[in-house]
């Protein structure tokens, strides 16, 4: 016989993961944007580069932007040397991150398949595999049978509109639980003394004699030695406060999940040609996304026909999904650059640093950019791994064109 009624005892509220301080009047470094990038930057500044008098200012709640909305694909199989450098640095940090933060992240290296559906896809994919290998990134080419072996539910029948001819495979790629990543960084940064300030929108950047000296916010003026921008979808809006124009277009990007299902999908499958990518979260939902809505938009939502197209692609690739029910769709605002590579580095204004343009694929970069952006802020010069991603590449012409590797997806 039980002595209490099950469910009648309300458990205590769990401990808060971070402090919730009021802003001080001044900080050495103010970071604008409390998404994954802002939080990771604060954490590495405090843990690796000796700066702890930091505030992260977030207009909403921590990790409520794209960090809460992405489909969590992590990989480093991009084409160019510059990209391999930063994405592989990031993947290596992912591999030690749970230990580093002392926090479980459900990081799962279940591999990623990037499908090829045409002869041109096959050639491009093989080229990318070779480039990856030269850069020490694990990559292999697998034929259609090989795809089927790695992911038995993929339809490799030759008589569909876009038959699967093969795929690139990166075994070390995978997924992680995005919210845990945000919370893990936030908790660790807070413990190191970083002030995480929510409901604090930056409305102005104060610049005197070519140097940034503070920010205006919805919670008053805050002085700053240095200011680092990490506002993702709102980067154009925030940079404009300092008179900086960026080559960005903000687009809605949508994703969706199915109801919870038995484990059926052991890896991550992406297809640029039919515009869909799929993995199965630990809980059991199928997580799917596709390309951006084509128009500019700050609404954190997109059009339904995009979802419809994405589903028709998914069902051709995975006929078994036909009976799955859609549970939820949502959208984020992604800041897309002309060459599908990010913009990270210093600006013409002293003490003002820029991190944006990660578009549809910056979740995987969270540890890598957090570390190198923090280094850049601490040393007041671009970290070697992000040097190529400067804003002036658009006038020098040294673009890092990753449309092939980034394309629809991530």
């Amino acid at each position: 016989m039980l002595t209490t009624t099950p469910g009648s005892v309300i458990p205590d509220h769990p401990d808060f993961l971070w402090r919730n301080p009021d802003p001080k009047s001044s900080y050495d470094v103010v970071i604008v944007g409390g998404g994954g990038h802002g939080l990771a930057t604060a954490y590495y500044l405090a843990s690796r580069y000796g700066i702890t008098n930091i505030a992260v200012l977030e207009k909403g709640w921590l990790g409520g932007g794209n960090m809460a909305r992405n489909t969590t694909i992590i990989r480093s199989n991009y084409l160019w040397d510059e990209s391999s450098g930063i994405y592989e640095h990031s993947l290596k940090l992912w591999e030690g991150l749970e230990e580093d933060l002392g926090y479980p992240l459900l990081f799962s290296q279940r591999g990623v398949l990037n499908l090829a559906h045409s002869l041109q896809d096959v050639r491009d994919s093989k080229r990318r595999v070779n480039a990856n290998r030269l850069n020490g990134v694990d990559a292999e080419w697998v034929d259609a049978e090989g795809v089927k072996e790695l992911c038995p539910i993929v339809n490799i029948s030759p008589d569909v509109r876009y038959p699967v001819l093969g795929a690139t495979y990166q075994p070390r790629a995978g997924i992680a639980k995005h919210d845990y990543v945000a919370w893990g960084y936030a908790r660790a940064a807070s413990e190191l003394g970083v002030d995480l300030i929510q409901n604090c929108e930056v409305t102005g950047l104060t610049i005197e004699h070519g140097r940034v000296v503070g920010v205006e916010t919805s919670r008053g003026r805050i002085n700053a030695g240095k200011v680092a921008l990490a506002a993702a979808g709102h980067s154009s809006v925030v940079a404009a406060l300092a008179g900086i124009k960026l080559p960005l277009q903000s687009h809605p990007l949508q994703a969706l999940v199915s109801e919870l299902l038995e484990p059926v999908h052991p890896t991550v499958v992406m297809s640029n040609a039919v515009h869909v990518y799929v993995s199965q979260a630990h809980k059991g939902e199928l997580v799917m996304g596709a390309g951006v809505d084509t128009y500019n938009g700050y609404g954190q939502r997109g059009a339904f026909h995009i979802i419809e197209r994405q589903m028709s692609a998914a069902i051709e690739l995975f006929p078994v999904f036909a009976r799955a029910h859609l549970l939820r769709t949502w959208g984020g605002i992604v800041d897309v650059t002309p060459d599908a590579s990010p913009i990270v580095g210093v600006t013409d204004i002293q003490g003002l640093y820029l991190n944006c343009g990660w578009g549809t694929g910056g979740f995987k970069g969270t540890p890598g950019v957090g570390d190198t952006f923090a280094w850049t802020i601490a040393h007041d010069e671009p970290h070697p791994l992000i040097e190529a991603f400067s804003l002036d590449r658009f006038s020098t012409g040294a673009l890092v064109d990753e449309h092939g590797a980034a394309a629809v997806a991530h």
Partner: protein, 118 residues
């Protein structure tokens, strides 16, 4: 699905249209005189406002003609549509604190720019 008021065909479903980005970006008058920064500006830098935006649309599944529109990038509502050779409407008039206007105003604006809404 969002209905887009084509100035030639009237309201049609969004899937009939293609997006063309910022409107009123003329080809440089003197291309040979441009430096690297100016070329970068022409090729790669477009406005990205949060709010009313003058942009190009192509009615690919209908009259197959380009037209211009002012659309609010927060609500995605069309505030005005007009022919590509018509001057850009004064964007400031759309910035007013009042919430973005429904498609009715878009069709009113389109007839104001001599378009037919069927």
């Amino acid at each position: 699905m969002q209905l887009i008021p084509c100035p030639n065909c009237g309201r049609r479903e969004e899937i009939e249209f293609h997006y063309g980005g910022q409107a009123h970006v003329p080809y440089p008058a003197e291309p040979a005189a441009l430096g690297d920064a100016e070329w970068a500006d022409y090729l790669f830098f477009r406005d990205n406002p949060k709010g009313p935006f003058a942009e190009r649309w192509y009615h690919s599944g209908g009259c197959r003609r380009w037209f211009n529109a002012v659309r609010d990038t927060r609500s995605y509502r069309f505030l005005a549509v007009y022919q590509p050779d018509a001057p850009r409407p004064d964007i400031a008039q759309f910035m007013a604190a009042a919430p973005p206007v429904a498609a009715d105003r878009a069709s009113a604006a389109s007839s104001a720019t001599n378009a037919v809404t069927r």
